[in-house]
Symmetry: D2
Subunit: 375 residues, 4 copies
């Protein structure tokens, strides 16, 4: 019977398991199964692959196609019913864990003027990237922040948070990124609803940015023992200026152009323990070389248009489109304009990989560093 085959992972190479099934062995395997045990050599080549092979596939979600559905949700459910009104993106290879790629979740949240979602907290870390609308705000542990286009905002692990849109605002849409799948995989996910459902505003509006968002400076004597950044909102304007400034003095990376990481200003490290984020600028006409990394990436085009080649397949993107790059898959990026720069926001699990000593990166050696396109 098919289920009684145990030698399908054989490899004919010294140092790898290479044991053919025999009746005697299959008997042995059956006996082991009855003991909640197995023979390592029947699975060794499967569980010790030569290199990572991601369960995820590269996908691109066009904002133009998603947007209508997101707006439809606005009418179909209220935040009270839904908890949060979000359309999430499901990687075909990862629907079982509700992930967009690897162990990363992402979705588009929509709120209308005057709406507010209830306050809660969880082990999962969250981040936002603001896509459209005016008047949105978020409150993280009493720090209320206004949200503008292309702002990057943190809701770290364990913080109380709630979102809303001002009465005089417009319909707002932003991308949520979370490590919910990772928290569940690690069997470490806790959830709490705020006892008062809403939380107070305890600090001046946008105080974290005014306090921690200045270059080369920190408030004197301020201590901070949390594992996440005290700077909670990174605004688009200074971020874009930073890229333009860096462009003038740096050749950038052959794989990523002008590329900056959002950091925790208190430590210089990643903004949260498990997830990081970056913004990169592709210069007019730039076509980066291919590399692959241990880690999963969710991109959103923040400016301009172009395409990326991921695992040999081309994905065309323009502003607000979202796409993913699975772990250890070749990828390269192309600015579609010869005169304007293009910007890609991304978030990823590199802080997790680095915390565990697992990060690796490799440039493509062949073909001058460019992937052949799969036909």
């Amino acid at each position: 019977m098919a289920t009684d085959t145990y030698d399908q992972f054989r490899e004919d190479m010294l140092g790898r398991a290479n044991v053919a099934d025999t009746p005697e062995l299959v008997d042995f395997y059956h006996d082991l199964e009855s003991q909640h045990a197995g023979a390592l050599w029947t699975v060794a080549n499967k569980i010790e692959p030569w290199e990572p092979e991601s369960d995820s596939v590269p996908v691109l979600w066009e904002y133009d196609r998603l947007r209508d559905h997101v707006l439809r949700a606005l009418k179909l459910v209220s935040p009270e019913q839904a908890g949060r009104r979000v359309v999430y993106l499901a990687n075909p290879g990862r629907t079982d864990v509700t992930a967009a790629v690897g162990w990363l979740y992402t979705g588009l949240q929509v709120m209308g003027p005057g709406e507010v979602a209830s306050s809660h907290r969880h082990s999962a870390s969250a981040l936002r990237f603001i896509m459209e609308g005016s008047g949105a705000f978020t409150n993280v542990d009493g720090h209320k922040m206004t949200l503008g286009r292309n702002d990057f905002v943190l809701t770290p692990n364990g913080t109380w948070h709630e979102h809303g849109v001002a009465e005089d605002g417009s319909v707002c849409i932003w991308q949520d990124g979370l490590d919910i799948p990772l928290m569940n995989a690690l069997e470490a996910n806790f959830y709490e609803v705020h006892p008062d459902l809403q939380q107070a505003v305890s600090f001046p509006i946008d105080d974290s940015t005014s306090t921690w968002g200045s270059p080369g400076l920190k408030p004197a004597g301020e201590t901070w023992s949390k594992r996440y950044s005290p700077l909670l909102k990174y605004e688009w304007e200074p971020t874009y200026e930073a890229l333009c400034r860096l462009e003038k003095v740096s050749d950038g990376s052959p794989y990523d152009g002008i590329h900056m990481d959002y950091v925790n200003p208190f430590t210089g490290g990643p903004p949260m323990s498990t997830m990081g984020a970056s913004m990169q600028l592709l210069r007019p006409g730039e076509h980066t070389k291919a590399h692959r990394e241990v880690g999963s990436f969710v991109y959103q085009c923040a400016k301009g248009h172009g395409h990326s080649i991921i695992g040999g397949k081309r994905f065309d993107w323009k502003e607000k489109d979202i796409f993913v790059v699975p772990s250890w898959m070749w990828h390269e990026h192309v600015n579609g304009s010869g005169s304007e720069d293009a910007c890609l926001f991304s978030f990823h699990d590199l802080p997790t990989m680095r915390a565990l000593g697992l990060y690796r990166v490799e440039g493509l050696a062949e073909n001058d560093g460019y992937q052949p396109l799969a036909s």
Copy 2:
């Protein structure tokens, strides 16, 4: 149809998703699916549970029952064919990822006199706990070590390693512990066979223990930039002495008795990035109180006998028995003797949990801290 039910996770509570299916909504869900998307509120309560619920179940493997099977393997396959001759332990809830509990793999490796397995390395970190036999050795990056009963030995991430038994030795069995399932889950697992199949012995025998295994001392001026311990073998005798010494000056932990962690002497931290290990001594008659932790544990009884209550179920153990405690499951330990101490070796993924800021522990408040036994 069953597959068209989207509201099976509803909870009737403010702050949780509570949306009943309607034909209009189900249409909407179908449309989202066609876009590789979904509505968060249909899965939110599932993916954001109130607290972790492990996929693993508690299991105990009696060595008396396993041993015969392990010895049978000695005759059935050679190390050359099998790569390594190992019987692994499969948690009924985790057979898909070949884990004993959570993301931890464990198995029993057996080698006869004169046998040697080929050298290789991988992203997974490994550890050994020696169970029986004489003459076993391991070679880790040229550091050859002799292996004695109850010794704890490291094979860190990325090190070349091979094992064997001396010609004049006896059949040897040891427990292997690895984070193979975690490395695969994180899509970070690489594997290499040593170009020469065997590696040289580059240092005096047991040099790492002689160099780094002294209390409160390190070789002067020695630097070390690896993420794992330079001390590779922790011998049983000084470990047991340490527990006895600690017992004399400490009340120990109400949850774990006299309890010590194996550490990297260069940093005082865990011996490897992803996995740690401990040895604990239960005093005669000791019955510890119940607690639960974010993290998965594999125990082996190193001395004496007793039982543990895990998730309300009793598991009796004696020397060399192996059992597991899943994440966030109540557990307590009982020394079965009123006159002798009992020792439990364990390894776990707490370094992973701590690196990501996810570790939590909680003592049982009710019933004076003891679990009621499930009947």
Copy 3:
């Protein structure tokens, strides 16, 4: 004889040395001296004081009075002859170690158009605060920087450095701050002249500020293993803006008003191992409360006017005046204007104190926190 008195430090208190001289004891002391030894109790109360008593005195140097002398130096010596053309400030209590306060050196360097000083490096760390003139530049390990009024610039320990003024510039004066006295005290000071006397410009002008001087961002993938900041120039304009932004959301410190530390953006820590620097803004009419700190401080008024009360004595300051606060001496600051803010730049040895675990701070409890003025 006076020299034979050994009991001048007696204190009549249990736990303190309290031994009166006797002929027998004095004999004993003489015998010890002949052995290069002594009796601890003859000096214990002196070398173990109840609290630190600084050898330094508070001093203020008026720029109006210093400036003429500094300009006079311009005519009297060339950079070639002098090495560097600097007038240093000598604390009356520390002339033996050429310190302005504690173990900190400071001086005013002056260069004319077209002048350039030769390149060298040393164990001492240096910093600059620019006071007047246009066209000044510094080159630190190939990173050439232009220097503007109130810019703060690093020349870390071990970096090659040289300064100059462009041909079309004007006479420039800046403050140098160094830990030369500390390096000498620690017997750790090395000095080298650059083999070519001048060094090349190896990077785009001001590249360190363009690369590292952006809020909440760092160049992706950039590593840095030096013990000092990769950001070498902190410009005045964004610094002043940061203070104004912080003022809007913070009450500041009762002892220092709106107070920010210059940091190493790679670590969030101090810019150099031994010295740090700060900029503080005193709001119109602000009179801070008195505190004292373990550490020595050199201040320069960067904007406005006011006075400080140091050790009970009043010191009036206006732009470019320099004054010092010795270790563990009470100090408070007063903005002299009721309508304009005032800014004080300062540098200090707090990183040294913190690295050794010695920093302490204490607010004045009496008199509502204000020192009585010594009459």
Copy 4:
């Protein structure tokens, strides 16, 4: 006049100050002095030396000669009068700061049976090395320890401490090492007498060694936030065993033989923030090569006999003799026996140097690495 010479440090080399006095310049210098200022070029070559030149000289104190004086003190003063009954060692170049070398103080403390010194604490860190007698004990923050020959004991910065000898003990002598001179130089020294003059014993005797003094292990779950080691006593026997074990697997250092550092087991780092200590074993007939280090060292011979060559001068030592090596001075050690090993205990300020990034070491290149003896 002699005092009016300002050009005594001239060096005739580009990049160094080389300004001859002229009447005009001397006038200028006088004017600067009246402003508490000076011309840098008059002192630059002095305060920026090519390399460190220690104020200390190498000295050896023979225990045979000191011991009588120490015992004499036993009769001359009581601990109540003296605070502590200690004969300190005074470097001829550092009598002004009561240092044995650099900023390190050392002395010999003597106590008789039944004596006890009052409890106090201070910013200075202290250590002990036990020389003779039985029954001595120390109490550090409630941790009472018994003191045996050649034990190394900590009294860290800020801990309450008191010493004594049991009624049934004998006269005890030990070496005290402190950073008192450094604390005074840094103007950071605080002192307090214990409110009750004596402190309680709050833990089982020698609990710190039983808890933290085991190889490769720490008590599970134990946290520690102090900047010093939780292990307070390092006993001689396991230390000597460690050296013998290391000797078997290591060639040791050409400059120091078999050389181990005492460490904080919680961090793997130095036992205290400012001072560290080491024990080294010179093999029979070993003659180490010369090197020099930034840092000051106090040695005591713990076993055997031999000599050291320091700054070209020979110093012969045997058990309990003490000698010092100043910063950046060449030194080499010779075991005087061809059949027995010799051991040198030392303490030093390398943790201070390393915390500030100032440590350097250099081997002697000439003469096959051996200093010519000054005749």
